[in-house]
Structures are given as structure tokens and as C-alpha cells.
Assembly symmetry: C2
DNA sequence: ATCGTCAATACAAACGTTTGTATTTATCGC
DNA sequence: GCGATAAATACAAACGTTTGTATTGACGAT
């Protein structure tokens, strides 16, 4: 357990000044080639690594990028997050940066957490998702001039780079798909109001319902958990004799619908129809295979990483034109009623 | 975009020394109560936050704990990781620490990454999973005296705290369950050799097979991906006329088996049987519901966090007696062949 | 020989904290 | 009213870097 090797230590051993050592290691032309080689040789031999805290202090930059994990984070948290963390870390490490992760307990806590991250110098930039209306995190970051990238556009769509999944299209798509065999009431099951992606989904779904001449669908704004999906479907299946259709914004909710159906002795594709979202692992193997839309997780993670890096390289202020709306792709067709046709996979997901 | 507020700034405004400001903020009895209040009032008004880098440099501690995400990290990465990150961040922030995340591309890269984390002072402690035989990460950390906690025991079981899932029991359990209706060859599909949890699983499974007087099962050591599960099952389903049984160490592999079965027109529960692991989201809703074992993700995450904090509070060297082996719980019974009995959920998973 | 020039290196300050020690100021005993 | 004592505060060094500037010594030009 020897002492950590520092510039000072190298300097003492070589009987030169720390400044010379520092410059030698950075290939500064001001140091004599022989000195440089000597320093570098010893540094390599002792496996010298520059201290991150000291560098951060000097540079006024932490060298870290934060990812904000949005609550609630449970087993059913969107699979995109892990992919994002992994991809982002790869990209960051290539540019000498590291990844910091913060998980707020509640949505209200997030703004304060963001403030802490910035003002304590815990990170130089932030990646955040689940943008919302009047998002206090965004106004704070803009105000401070902090580089950040969001998953989902905000109320200041031209003030920062963002990447967005086309949830409006997803909503439209789900309703359109369910419409074909619609035999009963249509339920839109989305995340709480104010969350932008959910608002877009609902808007897209409602618009499509109107276009198709449907009566106004029943709207549910709940947390995206299997429990909530089960609760809602359980309630509906208990009271109606018709064949309800559920357009769920996320597969977690749809899984809940499956659970409620099983509990009620109802069969999906006969007594009810379901459409999910985000193509969770396992959704391919439900019975019938869950209709859902793909969100191209890897591409999103990759894009967010790239955009974050580009933003970090930019000067302090915008405009930042990097706005990308990613398409959603229809997967499978289990929403079709059994008596109409066989369940056929539209596209393999692996 | 005003300058960050520092101790110096507060000191100048109040015409006192920075040391006084520093002490006032930490409620040092050496500063006069009126001065203390004056300082704290201004600090609150200007929303002063101590700079993390400066503190880290002075303290010789980064104030961060690293979590190593083990490759491969894909959509099917174990759901435990997100839960772990979330829980750990909660606990850490309560003690003024933060969470850093590192994702190695390959297993070989991990040891070097760990070295970098420690020697550059990127973190003061590490949480790591997927321990293996002759794990170079562990020997390095022990050598450096770094506080760390592992998910899964190591070759140095008394030298550091760890938490372990009872994979030996899981293997035993899977084979025992599949045995009841075994009509063909038994396949053990586990993660690559050298990964401790997989080795325990295989050992437990083989031992149980021997106890039950079964012929030696066929062994597969592959990455835990749906693709690998599908590949293996596809191969087997193509060549055998019998009813193979697959004990998969993780649901991702089992999902692959389901996919291959669908592709081959085979029906799970009639033409083959499957047993999974870790109870992934969605595994409840396969048809038939996937038999698997639960790994109590939240409890694991909580335990790892607690143990890490306790370890950080301890003196530099052991012994560290915190060893916990968590049980695995059988969920569902879809491995039963259809003609024998109906598929009944043994226990709800939500 | 002397000065300027250049290369090579050393010195020093700074980033924002924390903390040991020195200094100032007020208070008390006598 | 004077020295001792304690309270309050200021000074200074340190953590490990980076980087601007000063110093040293050798050499060529005059």
C-alpha cells in the first residue's frame, strides 16, 4: 500500500522541477528530448496517473457528465437507461471524461438535484430525459449556461440540443392499429400529465381517434408500472361486457393489462386487445405477442452521447440546431382480434 | 451567468478571512456566534455550495463510489443493475457521496479500468459484480487496500465483504423442477466458464442431476443473450425428435428458447420445457408463464449499498465478516408438461 | 571581451478548500 | 493601569495540477 505517485514524487526522484515533469508528460516542446524521455520512462515504470481532483480544481471542470435517472426507477424502468449509461460511458472515456449518475427519488426533487450537481461542480454537463411542461430543470440549466442534452424537446426547443422519440406518431399508430378490430371502448393509458412524451402520445392518439371518427377515448394518466396497468384493466374488465382496447404508452403498463386479464380469466385477443410501447424484453413472448412500437434504444443512446459531446465542444451559447426526432416502428400485430386472422409477427425484434 | 460563489467571495464581502468563513459554515465553536450567523446568512442568500473538486483534493478522497457495469450491457442486461444504481445513489447522497458509473466494453478491459478508477482517484470505493475465478480486479483492489463490495464471493472470501445470490441452489432447483416431467435430454445453459455465479449454477445443477440419477446433462457456456438462447435451442430442436429440457441461468436465454421454439413451430410445455432465471420483466407473461427463480433485486441492491457504506466507515483493513447468501425462490411452474397438469402460478411476482 | 539570443529549466502563483499556528483585541485579576 | 489570559480572527501551508514568468548557462555575433 505505497503512497500514490504524484508529479512531485517523480520530480524528486529525477531531481527536476514538477513543472518540467508536467510539461515532459504533455510532450511540451520546451523540454529537452532526453529529459522528456527520462521523465516518461519513469512515469511509465511507476505507473503514474494524474490525480483527477487536482486536475478538476485547476481546470475548473469536473471532467464528468451527469445522467439523471428519472423516477420512478424500478424493475420496469425503461431498458433504454442501461443502454444509455453504457454507450455514454464509452464515448466519454474516449474524451477523458467520466460518467456520474444521479437518481432522484421524486420528480420534485429533481430540480434541486440538478442545481446541486452544477453548483457543487459535480458535473460539467447533464443528460436528462422525461422532459416536462415548465420544466424547472431546464430553465435552471439554461440560466446557468450549462451544456445539456435532453431526451424529448422542451418549452425552449431552440435553446439546447435534444433528441426525441416521436411519441405523437406512436400514439397515432397505436390507435390506428387498434381501430381495425375495435369492438368496444378505447382506453389511452399514458404517463402523468405534464410529461412531454406522454402529452405528445395522448395528443397523437386523440387526434387519430378523431380522424377515424371514434368517440372520445377514455384517458388514464398514471405512473408507468405494471401495477397501474393491472389496476386499470382490472377495473375495466370487471365492469364492461364489451371488448375493451388498451393503448398503453409503455409495455410495463401492457404487461399489467395481461396480468389483469389472466386474473379475470379473460383472453387477450378475444376479450380485450392491447397495444404497448418501447418493446421491452419479453414483450415478444407474451401470448399473443404484444403489439408495440420499437424505440431503437441503441440509436437513441448513441445519438444522445454524440450530441452531448458535440455540445461540450461548442462555445458557451447557442443556437443549437441538433434536433432529431426518431421514428417509432410498429412491431407485431397481436392487437388484431383472434377471430379475424392469425397473429403474425410483423418484424423480428432481435 | 455570474461567477461561482466561493469561500473567497464570501470572505471578501464580509471582510473576514476565508478560514473564518470556512469554520463558520462548519459550526466551529471558535467563531463568534454573531459572525457565524452573519456568514451563514450570506452563504444561504448567495446559495453557496462548496466545490467538490477542491474538497476532494484537500481530503485526498473523491467522495465518489464507482459501480462497474459488467459487459455485455444490452437491452437484456440484468434488471438488477438499474435498481442497484438507484438505491446506491440514494444511500450515497445521504452521506455526502456520489455515484460514478463505468461500463467496460470487454471483460479483459475491466481490470485496467478498475486500476484507472483507483489510481486516478476517480472513486474511493467500488461495487462490482460478476466475480470470477482468479479475478484480477479483486487482487488489485485487495493489494491497494481499496474498500469494495462484490456481488458474488471471490477466491478471497474472507478478505472483503460480499453479497451472493445462491446460484448453486438455483441450479439445483431448476434441475429438480425440470426432472418431474423430463422426457428427453437435459440442457444446462449457463454463462461462460470462470464466472463464479455460473460455475455455482452449473455445479448445483450437475450435482442435482447426479442425485436424481440422470445421465450427464449437456452443458452450454455462452453469453447470456436472447440470441445465444435461440441459437442453442434452434440447434437442438432441429436435430432431436425427443422433448428437450432447458435449464437457463437467465431469462434472457430462456426468451431465446421461446423464440427458437416459435420459429420451429414447437410449443413450450409440449415439445420442450424451459426454466429461466432472475425473473425478468415480462417473463410472467410468456406462454406458458416462464418458470424462473426470483433474485429479490431490491433486497440485493439495498444490501450491497448498506454493506458498501459500512465498509467505507471501517478502518483500512479487515477482517470483513459481512457475507450474505441470498436465497432464490421458485416462481411459477410452466416447466411442467401440459399433459400432466394445468399451468399454475406458484406465486405472484409483482 | 560583451552583449543579446536561445534553450532548458526552475520558480511561483493559482484553482477552492481545510486546518495548524500566529496575531490581534478585549477582559480580567491585582 | 499593567501583565496574564482567553476569545476571536488572520495568516499560512497544504492537497496535485497547470501555466506564466524568471533564471541560468551556453553560444554566436559584434
Amino acid at each position: 500500500m505505497q503512497k500514490r505517485v504524484s508529479l512531485k514524487m517523480l520530480a524528486e526522484k529525477l531531481k527536476v522541477d514538477v513543472s518540467t515533469v508536467s510539461r515532459a508528460l504533455r510532450d511540451d516542446p520546451r523540454v529537452k528530448p532526453e529529459t522528456r524521455d527520462m521523465v516518461q520512462a519513469l512515469a511509465r515504470r511507476l505507473d503514474y496517473r494524474p490525480n483527477a481532483a487536482a486536475r478538476a480544481l485547476k481546470a475548473g471542470q469536473s471532467g464528468r457528465i451527469a445522467v439523471l435517472l428519472s423516477p420512478p426507477q424500478q424493475r420496469f424502468a425503461s431498458p433504454i437507461f442501461l443502454e444509455l449509461l453504457s454507450t455514454l460511458d464509452q464515448h466519454l472515456r474516449e474524451t477523458g471524461r467520466n460518467l456520474a449518475v444521479f437518481a432522484a427519488r421524486t420528480r420534485d426533487e429533481e430540480a434541486e438535484l440538478v442545481r446541486q450537481i452544477i453548483d457543487e461542480g459535480l458535473a460539467d454537463g447533464i443528460v436528462l430525459g422525461r422532459t416536462r411542461k415548465n420544466d424547472p430543470r431546464i430553465s435552471f440549466l439554461l440560466n446557468r449556461g450549462v451544456p445539456f442534452v435532453t431526451l424529448g424537446r422542451t418549452d425552449w426547443p431552440n435553446a439546447h440540443p435534444w433528441v426525441e422519440i416521436d411519441y405523437s406518431e406512436a400514439g397515432r399508430l397505436a390507435v390506428r392499429a387498434l381501430f381495425d378490430d375495435l369492438k368496444g371502448e378505447l382506453h389511452i393509458v399514458a404517463a402523468p400529465e405534464g410529461l412531454n412524451f406522454a402529452d405528445y402520445y395522448v395528443a397523437g392518439a386523440l387526434k387519430e381517434a378523431a380522424v377515424l371518427g371514434l368517440p372520445k377515448p377514455r384517458l388514464w394518466r398514471v405512473e408507468m408500472t405494471e401495477a397501474e396497468g393491472a389496476r386499470i384493466a382490472g377495473e375495466i374488465l370487471g365492469q364492461t361486457g364489451s371488448v375493451p382496447a388498451f393503448a398503453c404508452i409503455q409495455d410495463s403498463l401492457a404487461f399489467g393489462v395481461f396480468r389483469a386479464a389472466t386474473a379475470a380469466g379473460a383472453v387477450v385477443g378475444r376479450d380485450l386487445t392491447v397495444f404497448g410501447g418501447q418493446n421491452f424484453p419479453g414483450s415478444e413472448h407474451t401470448s399473443p405477442p404484444l403489439s408495440t412500437f420499437s424505440t431503437e434504444d441503441h440509436r437513441i443512446a448513441d445519438l444522445l452521447s454524440q450530441v452531448m459531446l458535440r455540445r461540450l465542444a461548442q462555445s458557451a451559447t447557442g443556437p443549437f440546431e441538433t434536433h432529431t426526432v426518431l421514428p417509432t416502428v410498429l412491431l407485431r400485430q397481436s392487437h388484431k382480434l383472434a377471430q379475424n386472422e392469425a397473429f403474425i409477427p410483423v418484424k423480428q425484434s432481435g
